[in-house]
Assembly symmetry: C2
DNA sequence: GCCCGATAGTTTAGGCTTCAACCAAATCGG
DNA sequence: CCGATTTGGTTGAAGCCTAAACTATCGGGC
């Protein structure tokens, strides 16, 4: 650790040396992050200008479309966001008439969310466009590269999951 | 384009068929996104519990550490965020005594940001820990896989950049 | 029947982020 | 020199997001 590194690190040497040679992982992570950020920013931008919506709204609709009615908690887990977050998101989508809530009579704590007819219609339009955008952004990557990247990302996910489980011990 | 796709897509067929077979790209993108999200969430969490700070703050300090004094606009471009965002971020970091601002005498619109002594000290601690976390999360990925992933992400970035340039036409 | 712990959601406070409108300083063309 | 444009930065409104505290309901043990 020794956090007393007071050398006047200049721009050149900034990323050059390291205590344990973890620079490669760092470079990999930064590249992964910028790649994702670029795609995400473009998708957010297009959702806004073409459909006047946002990525979180789109994601929630996608969950309902794919999995049918879901409780707030299920949506929260699937989207990997806090439940408080889903509360607000669902409120906005409900106000826009894209989803509706229904309290579970058997367990009155639960309420399930489902798409309205209008929500299904809107999402179908957005979803088709979205799929095209993604294809367009990755069009420069050949099928073999795409497959290889998919596989390696799977291994990366496994590595990360393992590290997270380890930590939870 | 023809966004009038009105079929009542049900949950089963949701991801099953597609107009042009762009499902593979979509799957690739979703995997890329979740991988990044998992790492990012963990880094945010550790920054919060171990250093009571946030990822954007850390990123801004990193920019200054690596590149020396920068104007707000330069930071904005490097971090790929809006300039209004940097205004607030810099205000908080200045209030915490980690950075300081200095108006450029030659062009009084500009002001450069630089780390304070305390900022350098704090960032050195955080940075060392951060590097270790990233290495830990990717530890399950062998050097060959890491290198391959890095290369493929480079190609993906090139593809995305090309698509964005195309669009700007 | 009643308390107790667990679970589903909401609320609150605070930070991050964007866009669009704005202000101030610099630059450029005439 | 001076108006028009550009550039650097700030502000305001709105949405997203989290952690932590809270409310309501359910289930089980006694």
């Amino acid at each position: 650790m020794s956090p007393d590194d007071q050398r006047p690190i200049d721009a050149e040497t900034a990323l050059a040396d390291s205590p344990a040679g973890h620079k490669d992982e760092l470079r990999l992570w930064l590249r992964l992050l910028t790649t994702t950020t670029m795609v995400e920013a473009e998708i957010r931008r297009r959702l806004r200008v073409q459909f006047a919506t946002t990525l979180p709204r789109f994601d929630l609709l996608a969950q309902l479309q794919r999995a049918g009615p879901l409780t707030l908690g299920e949506v929260s887990r699937r989207m990997m966001v806090s439940n408080g977050n889903v509360t607000g998101l669902a409120a906005r989508l409900e106000a826009e008439g894209l989803i509706e809530r229904r309290v579970n009579a058997a367990d009155r704590r639960e309420q399930s969310l489902r798409l309205t007819a209008r929500g299904r219609r809107e999402f179908a339009r957005q979803s088709a466009a979205h799929e095209g955008w993604v294809a367009e952004l990755f069009a420069g990557l050949g099928p073999a590269d795409q497959a290889a990247l998919h596989k390696l990302l799977g291994r990366a996910k496994a590595s990360i999951s393992a590290a997270l489980r380890e930590e939870a011990t």
